[in-house]
Symmetry: C2
């Protein structure tokens, strides 16, 4: 997933109006609290945008209506990529976003979201909650006056849509692909040509031949963009987003003004909404993938040569970043050590079970036409 809407359009309220309103005053224990949450996501990303709605609903219910958080879709109160500044400056109390949008400020933001060849969704939860992840990222976000909470994950994304099959690294070289963030940096290093485009512009750019490939999210969201009408090949996996964590940003002063009880409500609601978003993506993606295959989409494992080249380029990038960015060095040091043990251990109970069940599904079920099975990942 990547760049949403680049338009710097300010919605009905107008920036002056937003600024004039400012942060809600510190509330006393029994006083009503009204917060505004700005999302980086449009309503059309129903599950991602919906995560903030689930969060706000849970907070309202648990507080007996005393904490009322209004949720504003991208571009409603402020542009999708202004939400970090908005929360930092206290223009709004909180935001729901994908931290890798902000790697131009510091690449370390990506470690709160997704990095190429990173942790899968459960491993990310493990690092955040019971590794050192959340503690390190809280320290990092403190520099922005923000308290961060994980709020959702998409799981492993798909590896993009291609007009032509990708059989080797040569097929990537010189190819214009809509891809952003660290994935774009790595793609460029292996010869690809990353192009930044908001989601709504991808279809036209493919249609006009301005790009030959594009990544978006996964089956549920991709189906809605209609890219399968232009591209026959749907690749997997997304080596750049083995999982993508979304985040709740809360202005630190606003958070500290809360009672211990209300802080616990925010934290627990974020965790429950985090669980819920992943569950919803997992529930919806298979049906969408079946629909895509039924319309003739061909599922295409990315070739080993491409993965190997990208993997090496990513490791080189991380070494460079560690050399020049102390935040990255510290946080990625913890992340990479955690990942090493996880990726090794995952290959036994989890992969052994999933692998067997998948082979059984290929043998027995009809959702995937039999001709698709040779395209299953080489194992």
């Amino acid at each position: 997933m990547a760049v949403m809407e680049r338009r710097k359009f300010i919605g009905s309220a107008g920036l002056a109006g937003i600024l004039a309103t400012g942060l809600a005053p510190a509330a006393h224990a029994n006083q009503a609290i009204r917060w505004r949450l700005v999302s980086s996501f449009p309503k059309s990303l129903d599950i991602t945008h919906g995560g903030a709605l689930v969060f706000a609903r849970e907070v309202k219910e648990m507080s007996g209506g005393k904490i009322d958080i209004s949720v504003h879709a991208a571009e409603d109160l402020m542009p999708a990529f202004s939400v970090l500044d908005g929360v930092q400056r206290g223009v709004v109390e909180c935001a729901h976003t994908a931290s890798h949008y902000f790697i131009a400020k510091d690449e370390s933001f990506a470690l709160d979201c997704a990095v190429p060849f990173g942790l899968n969704a459960r491993q990310m939860n493990a690092w955040m909650r019971h590794g050192n992840g959340l503690a390190l990222l809280r320290e990092f976000f403190k520099g922005y006056g923000i308290v961060n909470f994980p709020l959702g994950n998409t799981g492993a994304q798909m590896g993009g849509w291609y007009r032509k099959p990708v059989r080797s690294l040569a097929d990537i070289k010189g190819q214009k692909m809509r891809i952003a963030h660290l994935g774009g940096v790595v793609l460029q290093r292996i010869g690809g040509v990353p192009v930044s485009l908001p989601g709504g512009d991808i279809y036209k750019a493919l249609e006009r031949g301005e790009i030959a490939a594009a990544e978006w999210i996964g089956p549920h969201d991709d189906l809605k963009l209609g890219l399968h009408k232009l591209c026959k090949y749907y690749a997997y996996p997304s080596w750049w987003e083995g999982s993508t964590q979304l985040s709740l940003y809360v202005n630190q002063r606003a958070y500290e003004s809360l009672t211990a009880e209300n802080k616990a409500i925010i934290e627990t609601a974020a965790a429950a909404s985090h669980l819920d978003m992943q569950a919803q993506y997992d529930a919806r993606n298979p049906a969408a993938l079946k629909d895509l295959v039924a319309t003739g989409t061909q599922l295409m494992p990315l070739p080993r040569t491409v993965l190997d080249a990208a993997y090496q380029a990513a490791q080189d990038l991380y070494a460079e970043l560690a050399g020049r960015n102390p935040n990255w060095r510290k946080i990625h040091g913890s992340y990479a050590a955690f990942l090493k043990d996880q990726a090794w251990a995952w290959g036994h109970a989890e992969m052994g079970f999933d692998g067997y069940m998948h082979r059984r599904a290929l043998q027995q079920s009809k959702p995937a036409p039999a001709k698709k099975s040779p395209l299953a990942p080489r194992r």
Copy 2:
């Protein structure tokens, strides 16, 4: 995971005392609520038992101390397997348990927990929250006067400890193995000899040669039992527990006596604790698996012939259950349809990503000695 302590020992309070206390009276909005939660787990299962502690702490924090749930380990207030009756009869307000303990009452309980060749942990969350799982199970539990909530998962478990290598189905035939629940039923159908034993008795039974194999949970919990001192081979995956969901049972009258606000606090805290337990297992298991390998434990993929035989026996069992148990037919019908699409779809982005990362870990990291890599699952 399976049977804990079979001793029908009643702890210090005594059953008469518990019964005399009964359910806490219905509370008004601002009145303190004191509940007792009985766990089926001993404190030694620190992560599983700890899930109830995390839940109780979150509830207490979010309610500003107004809801105080005391957590009682297995055998403290009542035996591990009496908790269903205890909650149903209103002896206590709630329990934390593994629903497959109660399949003697109705096999459908297993569908709230684990069935052989079932959903993995994320798929289970998806079915529960955004498939029809929770709705169907709530209807089922209503018959017991209980409102159920998922509260924790172990992830895919390991496939047990064996004194001798398992190379084919012949090595299973006639072998006494400590295994319980539907896994035990299926093992018996493929020629094994399931033996029920509480966790604390497994070591001695293996030492005395009364059993030749035993399954428990996964690396973190198994390491503590010390079975690696008696068994060289640690198999994977557990075809009987591709994930194991734990549950919070709340007495229906007690739940209905709560305000909408307090109901939301119970529900959201259960979801957040559910996320947290899986994250903790995922964070701790790799280190324990490394430790086991370092002491000479050999990781052993179960052979395809064993998995195939067990898979077929499980499907036959499910068909029989559907024929004679309407609850099973209804709930498993939804579960099986959901699983079919999940197992197919999982083989693309998720398995593609995990598989690549695991191969990289085998090539590059040292935690697993190189001689172990041939034992990785055949893919």
